[in-house]
Structure formats: C-alpha cells, structure tokens
C-alpha cells in the first residue's frame, strides 16, 4: 500500500531546524500510521550542489535565524541554547548512526536524539569524535566500536552514498522531508506535511 511508505526525514546533526523538526515529524508519521526513516546527511556537499550557504554566515539572514531559533524554542518548549562552536562537522555522528542503524534502527534513532540534545540542549561539541563516542557509550553502545565505526570505510561510504542519494532526490537543506516522492523543505512545512498526509496530496 502506497500510504504505508516511510516518510524520509533528511537532516544534518548540526542543523537547529533539523533538531526542532525531529520530534514533530515523528509525531506526524505516527499520526499518519507511517514509519519515519531518519537520514542524517552532510549539508556541505548538498550546499555545494545547490549553491546554498550556511544561514549563520549570511548578512541579515544569519541574525534572523538566531532570533528565530530562540523563538521556536520558546514556542515549542524544546530545550535549546545556541551552541558554541557552531556549526560543527557532523560526519562522525552520522557514521556512528549508520553503523547502529544497520543492526538496530530503534537504537540508531535514540542515538540520533541523544546527539541532537547533546549539541543543542547541552552544548557538547558533537564535532569531536571523543564526544560522539561518549554519547554512543551513554546510549549503551561500545565506545571503542563507535570510534572504530567513525573510520570504517563501510560507514564512510554509507554516509557519502546517502548524502549523494539525497542530493539526487533534490535535497538541498535541513530538514527536508520526502513523502511518496513529494518534497517538503523546512520545519515551516510541517503543517503542509500534515495536510498532505491527511488528504493523500492535492
């Protein structure tokens, strides 16, 4: 059945809008009775393909975004403090995610939530391999195995392939949702996502 296809949720672990959207898209998926596939990607290559730039580095837009993230946090009640450093490379966290996901998708999502919270709620530097390994450990994974996964060619390739596949589907930002090939960019689009799921599209 078409209506049971997974919702693909693309994000970068270093994306505040990805963080804010993570719980919400899971709730929308549950509401619609669909699974939600989390796909951490690397915005660097996506930005290269699209000509996009980091929000925070853009005049006017950067200041607006910081204001908007604080405002979204107050609105949603999601714990949030602008992290320092920002942004950070999220490749280590993404590789550990894929390593976990291969054996246990539920554990991988729990780890992803822990990574998001570590960075955006607790200010831990998730660009640091040791920090990522510590978070994996806190989630019940083996620390040494997590560290090994970060340098394992298999997870390097998986991470690269998923990013390239995302770009091939038109993904250029975080968060980005694809529902039965229909693309939705941005956490702003959650109301439209809900309507699309409820109505089957228009």
């Amino acid at each position: 059945m078409e209506m049971t296809n997974a919702i693909d949720f693309y994000f970068d672990f270093s994306s505040p809008y990805g963080y804010f959207a993570a719980d919400a898209i899971e709730a929308e998926a549950a509401r619609a009775g669909r699974p939600c596939r989390w796909v951490p990607i690397l915005l660097g290559p996506a930005f290269k393909a699209s000509g996009n730039q980091l929000l925070i580095e853009q005049p006017l837009k950067g200041a607006y975004s910081r204001h908007d993230w604080d405002r979204l946090a107050r609105l949603t009640g999601i714990p949030y403090a602008f992290p320092d450093p920002f942004p950070v490379a999220s490749v280590a966290a993404a590789r550990v995610f894929w390593w976990q996901d291969a054996s246990d998708g539920v554990a991988a999502k729990a780890f992803a939530r822990a990574i998001f919270a570590a960075y955006f709620a607790h200010g831990r530097n998730i660009g640091d391999k040791a920090v990522v390994a510590a978070i994996a450990d806190e989630c019940g994974h083996d620390r040494a195995a997590a560290l090994a996964a970060m340098d394992d060619p298999a997870w390097k390739a998986k991470c690269r392939d998923e990013t390239e596949a995302a770009i091939g589907r038109g993904v250029f930002g975080s968060p980005f949702f694809i529902i039965d090939d229909e693309p939705f960019w941005g956490s702003d689009r959650l109301p439209m996502v809900r309507r699309w799921l409820e109505t089957g599209g228009w």
Copy 2:
C-alpha cells in the same frame, strides 16, 4: 495601543511567494483588528545586502520552488501560472504604487492586487512600463500620470528609501512581515504570524 499597530507587509511585485501571501496577510490583519501596510520593495538591493540569490537561479532550490508554487496554487485555489519572462524588474510598478498611495491607500492596494494578478494569473509583463500604465488605467488612474510617476524623482526616491528602510529593519526576502518589530520571513510563517497576533507573542 500597541496592539493596533499596523502589520508591515514587505514584498516584491515579482515574487510568487509575495503574491500567494498578499490575501492571506490581509485576512490575518483583519482577524486581529490591525491595519496592514503594504510596502513594495526591490529585492535586488535586499539580495545584495544579504547575499541572497534568486530562488529560480539556484540548482535544486529552483526546481523545488517551481514545484512548490504550483502546489501552493492548487492548495489555495489562487489563480497562478508561472510567468514568462521571470523575474522582471518591478520598479515601475512600485513607483506607481507609491504615487497612488500618497493620495489613496485603498486605491494603491487595489492597484497592487491588479499588478500581482496581471503577472501571476494572466502572464502580462509587469516589467514593461506600458503594461504597468495600462493596469493603472484599468484601475481608474490616469495613464499619462502613471507613466510620469515612474520617472518622477519623488517616487524614485520613495521607492529607494522604503527599500533601504526595509533592509535596515532586517528584511532580506519576500514576503516579509514585521509586527511590532517582530520579523517573520516567508509565506510559510503565516501560521506563526496568526499565533503571534492571537497571543501577543511569546
């Protein structure tokens, strides 16, 4: 009273998202019992200040936007066909707007709606001064006076000043709403605008 301040609605006449938002923000303002001040600006200088680029010229984002405009038109029922040429310079239309607005704000808004519809529903080239003058004429204004307004230093200056003032307030895209100094970017933010107006902010 603070709550009766006007909602400032910034847009470029060549912006599809501005077109889609125009009726909706008026409805939100009416719902909140506030006036809505329409401020046509020129995205060129705003993009220069912010480093923003035309959506349509960006890889991936351009294709997404075209798809999204069609989808928004189907969702809202607003008449829309992607115009050709796109985009066009909207400076003539903006100057005529300001000329009219100085004497009759209601007539200026009616003209603005007519310009939007001419371009996005009927495919008329609003970058052409003769077309803008014809639309002014259809709205009951004097054609020769409209043509003169396009080259009048007073309306040139007004158009430039409003654009610069907008940039000074952080405006970098279209549509952009400012409510009691609170900025909201994009037609996606209309649900948040409604909540802000209903609650007085958070």
